[in-house]
Symmetry: C2
Subunit: 687 residues, 2 copies
């Protein structure tokens, strides 16, 4: 073995391989295809990447692993997250531990970047049917001595005669299929035309369908609507975690990764492209019957065979990659740039100019996207700063610019995007909510995956905690402790948490633990390591990680920061527009579909309005991509709106800091919540 | 070693490798990168692919080669070309000999496909300067908080303000360069715009030049003009043999190769793309100073270093591949289709419909052409049948459709293309001249390479032969025999030959050897193998192949067929147009630049006209490509003319056969050549 290399084995996955000595354990995990949580992008501040370096001789793997085979313990960085007892048993932060020799690394469950449960279902919004890719069936005469015109011109003549299409270009890859398609179809052919401009596919005879995908690349989640372009129907919704999460949780961490790592942009871009291809695969796979291994007869040899097992009465579309003839994509400016391998550096630096605002038509093949070889993808335009193509998607789905009513649209993701206004004027801005509302930068925060606490109720009298985890219908109080298998808290649980902590008087309106009231409460304690107060939500026996799941004073601060940023953003935008009240508050994003509207108001997530005026609009960014897929006029509309929303850079507004600080209070101002009487205990409401 | 494979070594090149048993020697030579002449495309009729199978144990190579390691002798096919003596020493036809075991194959000089000497210089034709790719320099303000517009929109605004360009698209690969270019250029940038539609390049600061190539893909020769798009100047002319020649000499042989060989189209296409890339490389290399190996100091080790040695007073353009921003391409329909991987099968079958007539704009990267990543290539449109984009090139260079005078334009290549008419009407047709006029299908025919006889004079009295070879200035009679090193006869020599044989009374006007007159002449004899009469042009001692170079009765027939096809084609087209005479006869193609106009008339290559009306227009197809490169309006003109030339399928004209037979006579009709008196001896003219 090369002297500069060391063997690394990850457990429990068993992944193994050689890496250059000197790389850290996170880097090694990436190289070997193991996902370790790295929410802070290796800034050494999240403590999510704890791993255990195993000591001993592992004959099975032919290596000897020693704790000295990684770089020495860093007291300043590691003691914050790793207890003395953990340290003794070999725990280290993967981001600071460099490989120095052969090691076997155990990745505990809470450090694994799990597969997220995503719920971004397609809403039923009205979309006019006018897709960019349309199919046309024509029949032509075969060539003859008197009329020996070439295949392409023969078809073009037919398309002009029957459908009035003129001056069509043709993609060279499509053109290669034409002679065979025409002859196989006995001089009849189905032609796929993009934007009435370019032929992208020839199929022999009459074809009835063509398909498309609308994809929203979120910082954390990628969701795709798989649609039938000819019927407008949504066939399937597929989603995945953004594979770039391993490079950092939020947009700034990703931009930093690009700026500090040679080839970082390429890596992140390649990862998302690869991810999208697997998402496309997944969508296609679902259109075929499941496969089962054929049982072998006695004594039969040879490789396993698989056979399709169609469900009774079910028909299968059997879609191929070549059948996917259009694709629309949205994402915030950073996701947009990284996806397209456009330098995202300057989007992250004041005054935050993107490389491009305008939408782009790009051949899928030029990006390595595996759909029809000649197909284009349509990338939605960006607004400004981090308010990108995803927000344009929200806008063309919701169309506030066509309405008299004033709406505030909040897209809560890792980055918060705000739009306020109506047909007369629209302004937008972004606020760094950070990933706290999605579960990151929280001691036991996690993504919405099985084991995540998603609902919490705290009894205001006993201050006992009840909760529900993803993957189990029964709440804690109706379950055996060991059945809960709690692992952490996800986004929706976090907002519940803040509201419940406050409602139960555990924290004050300024977010400080109510020490006096809590003394001697079994769930309240001071952490011996960091001397910080914490409150136990689930006991170790209820968890699958063999630890008490707690909320810390720092966690409460993080949540306050997030909600403060959102609230202050809304307030400042209202001030800009000179308005006191909105007609509608629309909450978009996965968070929006889960959040309890009352609790959001209690917490002061956004300025006051009647509860019935609050509407969850789900994955509106994705809906906008779908609108652009199904109606090409929406593409022009997207470009228009992207240049006609006025972007407000909140951080340069006067008294931004002041507003922000105030907004961190819970609730912001009592007298603005008259409708909360009865919902929130009088004592607390009067704080 | 795999039992299904055998080791093959080619000498004298020394190329070696394993091939599947069962493939023939030609195929093996292709796989191992050795070029063996295969003029007939392995139809077993040209006899050009003679090789010698060496017998013995070749310790040096670790193999034992036996003559039985190739398939058995085929009497019918091989005895026609291989004498009993040659057979005895191991000669075989490479196209019929299949590899059965390890062999060492010697490829004699006359069977090697040599590097051709090509003379396709750029003519000085008038071209309006309006290239499809233009460069624009602009300066913009840097982004600020009040004006945070993105890079692309910032540049677009500048282009609109300064140059009136609007609605520009941008290639994604170019866009990736923009942020860096803008900042490196301190907010000034040079933008390359294609057809006022799409930005294909950003360069920091002010750039002065951009470059383009105009390429004519001939069946046998590929020629490229390397041009400065900004100054219209031709920087260099580079050329090469079409690497597809190894698959067959003429268009039908190539089409047959596609139809009979799996992946044949891909192979031929890949070969021409690879060839074009090397041609591009060659053009670029010429813009740098030559390199010399640096002498090592005494005792110095390490790899060789090379340094540039500029010629005094010479400046070098130092062009990179990225600097080549446009490329235009023409070729006959078969070359066009094979280059683009379009199925050429149906162009070869009546009624010969091409896949497409219209011109194509294709991203160079989609074809694997290594020029600027975002650049397009422009492929000229096709007319009909085999009259392709090359003939359109001839037309837009010569513009007969703008003139009152009636011209006959003859493009003589492996395929002959004819255009007749003026601004009121133009007709075109093609005739299968075959490769005889280029030296193929002739016993000692060869390409215009060193050693090829290119001029012949036969004394009418003594019937002794004088000649000149390529690569040597002195004629035979002023040289020592051993200095001639003759190898064969090339195209221009062949037309000389027919005229001289006739002028000296060696053949009659019907093309038959004048046996009675030749009896006892030392140069005249009956070949003992095929019992055919032949006439010696160069004795073995004057050759580099140690053989008498002869012209056979069959050769004369081949030449007659070629010239008959051309002559009959011209006649039939004139009849179609109801005309007796033209104002101009223009001869295009490499052949045209070499041919002796008088002899061409004597031989009846085309209908009679005054000698001063005959004009050689050189590589007019290439000139047309250059016109399209430099003036985008020529592209529209090309599409217009390609659809407005009436194509005549000669072979279906009534009495085509009759006309053809008559045209094979030499000269066609005496009374039509009054101006030949004095040029041709009276006796012969009266035959």
């Amino acid at each position: 073995m090369d002297d500069n290399k060391a063997m690394v084995i990850f457990q429990p996955s068993g992944r193994r391989g050689e890496v250059l000595k000197g790389v850290n354990v996170i880097e090694a995990s990436r190289l070997l295809g193991v996902d370790i949580e790295a929410l802070c992008g290796e800034k050494k501040v999240c403590g999510k990447c704890k791993v255990r370096i195993e000591e001993g001789r592992f004959e099975k793997y032919g290596i000897e692993s020693k704790r000295t085979h990684v770089s020495p313990w860093l007291e300043k960085e590691e003691s914050k997250f790793i207890s003395p007892k953990e340290k003794e048993s070999g725990y280290r932060l993967a981001c600071v531990s460099q490989i120095k020799g052969d090691v076997l690394v155990f990745v505990p469950e809470e450090s694994r970047a799990g597969k997220q449960v995503v719920s971004k279902a397609a809403r039923d919004i009205h979309i006019e049917h006018n897709p960019a890719v349309k199919i046309y069936y024509i029949e032509v005469d075969p060539p003859a001595f008197e009329e020996p015109t070439g295949d392409f011109e023969r078809v073009c003549r037919g398309l002009e005669r029957e459908f009035g299409l003129t001056d069509l270009a043709v993609d060279i890859f499509a053109l290669r299929e034409l002679p065979t398609a025409l002859r196989d179809g006995k001089w009849s052919v189905t032609v796929s035309v993009w934007n009435d401009k370019e032929i992208i596919r020839f199929r022999p005879g009459k074809a009835e369908h063509s398909y498309g995908l609308a994809i929203d690349i979120g910082t954390t989640t990628v969701a795709a609507y798989f649609c039938d372009l000819t019927t407008k129907g949504v066939i399937d919704t597929v989603s995945m975690m953004n594979p770039q999460c391993k490079y950092g949780e939020d947009v700034m961490a990703r931009i930093t990764y690009h700026m500090t790592t040679p080839d970082g942009l390429k890596r992140m871009s390649d990862d998302i492209i690869e991810g999208l291809n697997s998402l496309i695969d997944q969508a296609i796979q679902n259109t075929y019957p499941p496969k089962k291994k054929r049982k072998k007869k006695k004594g039969e040899e040879g490789p396993d065979e698989y056979m399709e097992v169609p469900e009774k009465g079910k028909t299968y579309l059997r879609v191929t990659k070549q059948d996917i003839e259009d694709l629309t994509i949205g994402g915030n400016t950073a996701m947009h740039h990284i996806f397209l391998k456009l330098n995202p550096e300057f989007v992250g630096l004041a005054p935050f100019p993107p490389v491009i605002h305008h939408s782009l038509d790009i051949k899928a093949r030029d990006l390595g996207l595996q759909i029809n070889t000649s197909a284009y993808i349509f990338v939605l335009p960006n607004e400004a700063g981090f308010v990108g193509a995803d927000n344009v998607g929200v806008l063309i789905a919701e169309e506030p610019y066509k309405k008299e009513e004033i709406s505030l649209i909040i897209d809560i993701g890792t980055n918060g995007e705000l739009v306020l206004g109506n047909k007369h004027k629209l302004i937008s801005s972004s606020c760094a909510t950070g990933p706290a509302l999605e579960g990151a930068q929280i001691a036991f925060g996690m993504r919405a995956a099985p084991g995540a606490i998603e609902r919490i109720a705290i009894d205001p009298k006993t201050r006992d905690v009840d909760y529900k985890v993803i993957g189990r219908d029964a709440w804690r109080k109706y379950s055996e402790p060991k059945d809960m298998k709690a692992k952490g808290i996800c986004g929706s649980g976090i907002l519940d948490l803040l509201a419940e902590l406050y409602r139960a008087g555990i924290i004050t309106k300024s977010g400080v633990f109510n020490r006096k009231e809590l003394e001697n409460h079994p769930r309240y304690r001071i952490n011996p390591n960091n001397k910080q107060p914490e409150f136990v939500l689930a006991w170790a026996e209820e968890s699958s990680i063999d630890k008490d799941i707690v909320v810390t004073q720092k966690d409460v601060r993080q949540i306050q920061l997030a909600k403060g940023a959102l609230y202050a953003g809304c307030k400042l935008m209202m001030r800009r527009m000179g308005m006191e009240k909105m007609d509608k508050v629309k909450i978009a994003g996965a968070f929006g579909t889960h959040v309890d509207r009352t609790k959001a108001l209690v917490m002061g997530l956004f300025p006051d309005c009647a509860i019935e005026m609050i509407e969850s609009i789900g994955n509106a960014a994705g809906d906008g991509c779908r609108a652009a897929l199904m109606n090409r006029r929406k593409r022009a509309e997207a470009n228009w709106v992207s240049r006609n929303v006025e972007y407000v850079e909140l951080t340069v507004e006067t008294d931004f800091q002041q507003q922000f600080m105030e907004a961190m209070q819970i609730p912001h101002m009592k007298d603005k919540f008259p409708h909360l009487e009865g919902v929130v205990p009088e004592k607390i409401l009067n704080q």
